[in-house]
């Protein structure tokens, strides 16, 4: 019996909804997907290789450029790895600042993911309204760090600068407003029946697959696996905060999306607690570290929970002031691993929905 002719469609690299330069070679039968072949590497910049020619401090700005949506989390992951390697104690206040700016980064990333997802399924207004709040957060980040996206705020042994006057109050105010905004996203995007029809029970992932494919972040938690490094293996000072890990049940696009929305609420909670606690903590934001960092020979692996999943830094030091080898476990890349099977049997429109729900960032995928 004959089937219809299958044909190959280039989905990307220049496509409005591949979140950058990502290409999927879709083998289609009508509009159904028979096979999907993700092609990445359009943004491979060789950051790992470049890091070998830079001193430990100089690598920090490069980590920004991997997951440029949540740059602070990348910074923190890297500097904590180096600190682990060198055994540096980080001042209390710096830890708090890292948490605050890190969670703020996570918020910007999640807000963007929410908005972009709305755009992917066709709701333009949701996208721009999310940007409205993102601008406010970026303002705060900019005031703190001097850059809007590529923050380079963390330093080995602390953070670059203390907060400015009144910054914490502004932040507190924004965090007070956040639940209202999230409510609005829920009204505009989450609660919309068309949106739910588009995303519910699409691209489902079982907990087993998630674990087998080493998926992490909201993608994993949407399938109901309670694994958030901030809770499971608290790093930094995350054990001091009281927050929940939102979990999904179906592991479908909707859950993945909604997990992010819920995580935003938790981030707001963490930031508010941190603001309360940091007021008690005074002191320097930078530990006493030598001008030229020469970690001892050895290797270290450190992972933290970034906005996309677990990001791990593996550093090999040969005793000089430059890393001998740097390798990054990039959650976006690993989360993409199951894409082919996830897409099979769905329609073209679902490609966008599924890809959007994984929330990749190409700088991180290709590194």
């Amino acid at each position: 019996m004959l089937r219809t002719q299958e044909y190959v469609l280039n989905f990307g690299p220049q496509h409005p909804s591949t979140h950058g330069v990502f290409q999927i070679l879709l083998t289609l039968d009508g509009e159904r997907i028979v096979k999907a072949e993700p092609i990445c590497g359009y943004l491979h910049r060789g950051i790992e290789k470049l890091a070998e020619a830079r001193t430990y401090t100089q690598v920090i700005p490069y980590t920004d450029r991997m997951d440029y949506l949540a740059a602070m989390l990348q910074n923190v992951g890297y500097v904590q790895a180096v600190e682990k390697l060198m055994g540096i104690e980080v001042p209390e206040r710096a830890e708090y600042l890292r948490v605050i700016s890190g969670e703020l980064s996570r918020l910007t990333s999640h807000v963007l993911a929410t908005g972009v997802y709305a755009l992917d399924v066709g709701g333009f207004t949701g996208f721009l309204l999310c940007f409205r709040e993102r601008e406010k957060m970026m303002d705060l980040l900019e005031e703190l760090t001097g850059s809007r996206m590529t923050l380079s705020y963390a330093r080995i042994g602390g953070v670059a600068d203390d907060v400015t006057e009144g910054w914490l109050d502004k932040l507190n105010k924004l965090m007070d407003e956040m639940p209202g905004y999230i409510e609005e996203y829920n009204g505009l995007i989450t609660g919309n029946e068309i949106f739910q029809a588009r995303t519910k029970f699409v691209g489902q992932l079982t907990p087993e697959t998630c674990i087998n494919y080493s998926l992490s972040g909201p993608v994993l938690r949407a399938s109901g696996v309670n694994y958030d490094l901030r809770k499971a293996m608290p790093y930094g000072i995350y054990d001091r905060f009281d927050f929940e890990v939102p979990l999904g049940t179906n592991g479908d696009c909707f859950d993945r999306f909604y997990c992010r929305v819920l995580e935003m609420e938790q981030s707001v909670r963490i930031i508010k607690q941190a603001i309360e606690q940091i007021k008690e903590v005074d002191g320097p934001v930078m530990a006493k570290v030598p001008k030229v960092l020469k970690p001892p020979k050895g290797e270290v692996y450190h992972e933290i929970e970034s906005s996309k999943g677990i990001i791990g830094y593996y550093i090999v030091s040969d005793g000089t002031n430059k890393p001998y080898r740097l390798h990054v476990r990039r959650p976006s890349f690993i989360n993409l691993g199951y894409l082919d099977e996830m897409l099979r049997g769905y329609l073209i429109a679902d490609v966008v929905a599924i890809l959007g729900s994984i929330d990749i960032v190409l700088g991180e995928v290709d590194c």
Partner: protein, 351 residues
């Protein structure tokens, strides 16, 4: 005074031409007709430009921004600039494309909306033509645009265009049926296909009150027919780039672009005529000219269509087809039954 602005002008022109004397009446009539037609053409173009501008402004306002405001006063000339630019932009005819059909599609795409506007009464006695089978004419002409969309997409000979074209055809075909069937209720009540008759029948009660379901079906189907959100799969930016007109640039694209807005105007005007009483003034507010009323009603509908676009996500194609065939078609058939039975009861009670 304002009421008869346009009708009066036409009459004046007619008498003027008649006054010349040597022109046979047929020629004079044709000239008047031609003037009317050109007026309608200009009207459509100006409105389409305005609608593009309005769309961008509405979008901006719903998204906490301002929208075009630099070119001309309040940015009013923005779309004019866009069209001017598109005219002077290169039209690329892909090598593998079917060149004649490729160029023919944008030429023809404006035909249905323009021809439909020929019969729409935009005010009291303000139809360029008054046809006996008005409604049927509208539907027949409107059904043509499917073919033109297909031509455009097919001739481009690129996969996204072809996908878009197939989607267009499937979608427009599916939603034309509820559109056609929902109007049956109106026809049953009015008993005529003539648009003037339909409007006249609504002098006291708008048909939206007697035919609410039909209106709903009509409106939804009309939104889908014009490929607007949430049914804008055809040009679903995030899925198949630009659908049938992926390969069109410059004026070819401008034609599709303007035709889309002209189509919105057509369906909103149709809905106004069929269900909202056309140019009849509500609450006896007759001091406002009839054509103003027509405009107000039409623009309210257009605004709603735009708000849909800037609120809703896009529906998926299988859901779209399912919704059309499994919900709207049975519903519109049921509406016919209900209307028929209702009218019998109405007659039996003998009001």
């Amino acid at each position: 005074m304002l009421e008869n602005l346009f009708v009066g002008t036409a009459d004046w022109l007619r008498s003027l031409l008649g006054g010349i004397g040597f022109l046979p009446t047929e020629i004079a009539e044709s000239i008047v007709l031609l003037v009317k037609l050109v007026a309608v053409l200009v009207f459509i173009l100006v409105n389409a430009l305005w609608l593009v501008y309005m769309e961008r402004k509405v979008a901006a306002f719903m998204q906490a921004r301002i929208g075009p405001n630099r070119v001309g006063p309040w940015g009013l000339l923005q779309t004019t600039c866009d069209i001017g630019k598109l005219i002077s932009k290169e039209i690329i005819i892909p090598k593998k494309a079917d060149k004649v059909v490729f160029l023919l599609a944008p030429v023809l795409i404006f035909l249905p909306p323009l021809m439909v506007f020929a019969v729409l009464p935009l005010g009291k006695n303000m139809a360029a033509l008054d046809l006996n089978i008005g409604v049927f004419y509208l539907l027949a002409i409107a059904s043509l645009s499917t073919l033109f969309f297909f031509m455009g997409g097919w001739a481009s000979n690129s996969k996204y265009s072809l996908l878009g074209a197939m989607r267009t055809v499937a979608q427009m075909v599916s939603y034309e049926l509820p559109l056609v069937l929902s109007l049956l209720g109106v026809i049953m009540i009015v008993g005529s296909l003539n648009l003037s008759d339909i409007i006249a029948a609504q002098e006291h009660t708008w048909l939206i009150f007697t035919q609410p379901i039909a209106f709903l079906i009509f409106f939804i189907a009309a939104v889908a027919e014009t490929n607007r959100c949430p049914f804008d799969l055809v040009e679903g930016e995030s899925e198949i780039i630009n659908g049938p007109y992926t390969e069109y640039g410059g004026m070819g694209f401008a034609m599709f672009f303007l035709a889309e807005y002209a189509n919105i105007m057509v369906v909103c005007a149709m809905a106004t005529i069929m269900f909202l009483g056309g140019w009849h003034a509500p609450f006896g507010l007759t001091f406002i000219p009839s054509w103003v009323w027509f405009f107000i009603k039409m623009y309210v509908l257009i605004f709603i269509v735009m708000q849909f676009r800037w609120t809703y996500p896009r529906i998926r194609i299988d859901q779209l087809m399912g919704f059309g065939w499994k919900v709207l078609v049975p519903l519109s058939l049921a509406n016919i039954f209900v209307t028929g039975i209702g009218m019998y009861i109405y007659r039996a009670i003998g009001w």
